[in-house]
């Protein structure tokens, strides 16, 4: 969803062209027995940080590019997560905000199984913008 400075919102649910790799890696994912099927925060956090560095790097907030950036970040993080091959459903959310002095708070609450499910949130910034990426992993 886009929240513009004049107060209007647009909610685009149009799907970007599907990444065929996402579909094939999900189909080949098999249910693995207990040992390797937990949500590892460090692993996920590294994936997120590398993705943001690659896609945004030192760029300033550009209104015409931000749409593509957020979509690329979530797509890339999701692809990397599916490559881990764990029996999880994933939700990846990215927020990019200009650095103009306004305050922002994010909070999340989850109704799930604490022993198997987990989340990871990475707050990243450069001189011109903030990026906050959250990943939630829920076991099947």
């Amino acid at each position: 969803m886009n929240l513009l400075s004049n107060g209007t919102t647009t909610d685009d649910c149009a799907l970007l062209p599907r990444d065929p790799m996402l579909l094939t890696s999900f189909r080949s994912m098999e249910v693995i027995s207990g040992e390797d099927s937990s949500f590892v925060i460090d692993e996920v956090s590294n994936i997120i940080k590398d993705t943001i560095e690659r896609i945004i790097g030192g760029n300033s907030y550009q209104h015409n590019k931000v749409n593509r950036w957020t979509a690329d970040i979530v797509d890339h993080v999701l692809t990397e997560l599916t490559k881990l091959g764990k029996p999880f459903k994933y939700i990846v959310q990215a927020v990019i905000m200009q650095k103009n002095g306004a305050g922002l708070h994010t909070a999340s609450s989850c109704y799930w199984d604490n022993t198997t499910d987990g989340s990871c949130t990475v707050r990243w910034e450069n001189k011109h913008l903030y990026a906050i990426v959250s990943v939630f992993g829920l076991s099947i």
Binding site: M1, N2, L3, L4, S5, G7, T9, D11, L22, F26, Y61, H63, V66, N67, W69, T70, A71, I73, V74, D75, L78, L81, T82, K89, Y90, I91, V92, Q93, A94, V95, I96, M97, Q98, N100, G101, A102, G103, L104, H105, T106, A107, S108, S109, C110, Y111, W112, D113, D117, S119, S134, F136, L138, I140
Partner: protein, 128 residues
Amino acid sequence: MNYSNAISNLNFSSNIHSKSSRSFNTNEVKQMLEQLIQQIIDKQNEYDCDKCTQLSKDLSQIIKDAMKSLNYEQYKYVIQVVLGQCQDDNLMMTCRCLWDIETDNYASYVYSNTKIFCAVTVFGLFYY
């Protein structure tokens, strides 16, 4: 702050469904979010950094409790609340999910007044 009266003031129109597994209904959840969020955000007269920190956490807990009261069987929920000051800024929020299209869904609602904006997303995922 006690928001339990906000939850008890909610009116649901679709309680005729029995407890047998009905799937996540976006409209129902969105209606619930509209009622709750407008009540709570309108009580804030201005953006206050400390109050809004607590408010965002409280809001996510309240919405989680309201989702539990909707009685969807076998569903896990993730509720994300983004609260910010209305200044001359732009913000872009995107999400992508890897899930089962037949059973899982999400509902989102954005509300803003002159001081504060609030974007809430609720994801419902079926647990087999």
